[in-house]
Amino acid sequence: MFSFIARRIGTILLTMLCLTLVVFFLVNLEPNLKKLAISQTEMHTPADQLESWLVNHGYRQNFFLRYGQWLGVLPKHPITDPATGKTTQRFSFCNDPTEPQFSGVLQGDFGCSTKFKTTVAAKLFPALGATGLLMFWVLAVMVPISLLIGILAGMREGSRTDRVLSVASIASTATPEYVSGVIFTVIFASWLGWLNGSAASASQGITFYNFTLPVITLAIYGIGYIARMTRASMVEVMTQQYIRTARLKGLSFSSVVIKHALRNALIAPFTVIMLQFPWLLTGVVIVEVMFRYQGFGYTLVEAAGNNDIDLLLGCSLVSVFIVLITQLISDVGYAFLNPRIRVQ
C-alpha cells in the first residue's frame, strides 16, 4: 500500500512538472508576451520600448533558465542597470529580491501577479478560500440529493419512479452551467425576485439570498451524473444473492435496502464523486464569472485574459494538483471501502 501511494505521488509530481512546462511554454509564446508588454506599459508605446520592457523584466532570458527560476532550482536575478551596475527589483510591488537568490515554487514563492500588482500567493489563496466555501456548499447540496435520487431509482429497476428519476437525471446532465445559470436567474431573480442574480456581495458574507443561485447552478450538472452512477450500482447490488436471501428471510424491503444494499451500493458513487472534481473546476470558472463571485475561477479568467504569467502558472498548478490528488484519494478510498480490491 505504501509503495503504491509513493509511486502514485511520484507520477503526480512528474505530471505536474510536465504540465507546468507546457503551460510555461504556451504563456511565453511571442504573441502572449507582446500582449503582456502592451498591457503593462502605457498606451501607444512604440515597439522598441515594448521590447526593452520585456528585456528589462527578464522575459527575454533563455526559456529553460526562466522555467528553472520559476521552479526554484536556479537563482532569480534582479534587474541590473548595465551603465551603473545598480540593481533594482523586477517588480517593486511584490518584494522581488535585490540580489540573486533561489526563490521559486519549491521555496514557496509563487511569483508576482502583473495584473493585480501583488504577489501570486496574496491573490491566489484568498480566492481559493472563497472557492472552497462555494465547493463545500455545492457538495453539501449535490451529494445527498444525488445519492437519494440514485437509490430511489435503483431500488426497484423499471418502476415508474425509476423512469421518472432517470429521465430527470439525464436532463440534468444535459444542462451545462451556463444554461442552468441563465434559466435559474430568469426564473428566480428576474421573474420571482426571490434570489439575487449576482454573488458579488457574497465576498463580504454569504446569505441565502446571494449564494443559492451559484450553488444550485453548479450542483445541478453533477447531480444527474452521480445519481445515474448510484442507480447503476444500486441496481447491480439489488440483484445479488444476499439481497434475495435477506428478503426470503422475511426482512422488510426498507430494512433490506437500508441495512444490506446501501453500504455496498455506495462504494462506486464515492469514486464518481471524487472524479467529479475536474468537472467541478470547469463549472466553478463558469459560475464565478456568471455570478461575479471573486474566487479561483474568476482569478483564472482574469489571469488568462491578461496573460498574467505567474498567476496563470499558479492557477494551473493548483488545479492540476486538485485533479490528481482527488484521483489518488478515489483509488485509495476505493481499495479501503471494497475489500475485494487489493492494491499492489
Partner: protein, 385 residues
Amino acid sequence: MQTEYISAFDVVLGVLWRFWPVWVALILVMGASFSYRRKLGLYGQLFDSGVGIAGVFICLFWLFTAIFASTISPFDPLAQVSVMKDTLPGAIEPASKLVYYFGGDKLARDVFSRMVYGSQIVLIIAPAATGFALMVGITLGLPAGYYGGKIDTLLSFLANLVLAFPVILLFYLLVTPGIMDTPIPYAMAGLFFLFPIIFFCVLFWTRYKNRPDRLYILLGITLVVGGWIYAGLVFDKDPLKIVHIDPNQLNIFVAVVFASSPGVFRIVRGLTMDIKTRDYVAAAQTRGESPWYIMLWEILPNARGPLIVDACLRIGYTTILLGTLGYFGLGLAPESPDWGTAIKDASRLLRSFIHPALPPTIALMSFVLGLNLLADSLREQSMKD
C-alpha cells in the same frame, strides 16, 4: 414609431409554420424508419421505446433545422435592423412585414434566425470533432491496450496529462487570437488529421494485403480523398477550393479534438484489454493473423456497442464544450450566431431583457438532451443482446 406586435398565440403558430421543411422531413424519415424498424438493426430497435423515439426525434429535428436553416429563418442572422433593437417577441419588422418571432437582441438582430443558424455551426463542428477524436483515440488506444507494456505506459501517461488539465484552462491557453500567429494550431491540426488517413490505410492494408486488385483501389481512394481534405483543412490549399476552414474554426476544432481524444483513448484501451482475452482473438492469433488485423478486424467490431454509445454522449459533450468556448468568447467571431456566444451576450443583460437568452439556452439543452436520450436508449438496447 410604434412597433406593432402579434399575439403570443400567433408567435407559437408562426414559429411552428416556419419550421415546415423540418416537419415534412421528420415525418418522412421517422415514418419510414418506424415502418421498417424490424429491418434496420440497432437503429430500428431505438423505435421500441419512448425514450429512444424522443432521442431520435430531437436529434433529427436539429439536424434538419441545420440543413434547412436558410429556408426556416426569415432574416439574415447578422443583419441589424435598428428599429428592432431589444424588441419583445412577436414584433413586426416594418419594411418587410416579417415577424421577429423571438424578439430582437441588443444589436437589433432576429433572435429566432440566430438560433436557427446557430444549429449549423454546432452540428458541423461537434460531430466532426467527435469523429476525429474517435479516430485518434482508436488508433492510439488499440495498440496501447493490445500490446501493453512500454507503449501503453507512455500513451496512458500522455492521455492522463491532458485529462489532468481542467478543460477551461486548456481552452484559454490553446484558443487565443495570439496563438494563430504561431504554427502550433497548424502543427496540431497536421498531426490530428493524419490519424484518419493512417487508420483507413492500415484498415484496408491488413484486410486486403493478399488481394492487390482491391487493395490498390481502396488505398488510392483513401490517399486521394484524405490528402485532398488534409490539404484543404491544414494548409488551406485545396486545389478545387471546396474544402475550406476558417483559421478561427480550425483552432477551435483542434482544441476540441485535443481535449476529447484522451477520453476515447481510455475507453478503447479498456475495451481492448477486455476483448483481447476472448477466444476468437486467440483463434486469430493461432491462425497467424498480424496484430493490426486482430486489432482492427477482430477487436474493434466487437467494441462497437460501447463506442457508439460513447460517441453519442461525446457529441453532446462537445456541444457543451463549444458552448463553453462561445460563453467565454474564445475562438468564435463575436457576431457568430452560435448558441454559446448568444448565451454570453444575452446573460449580461438578463436584468433588463430575458427573451434573447431563452431560445439559445433551450436549443442547446434540448439538443444535448436528445443525444443523451439516444445514448441511453442505445445502451439499453445493446445490453439486451
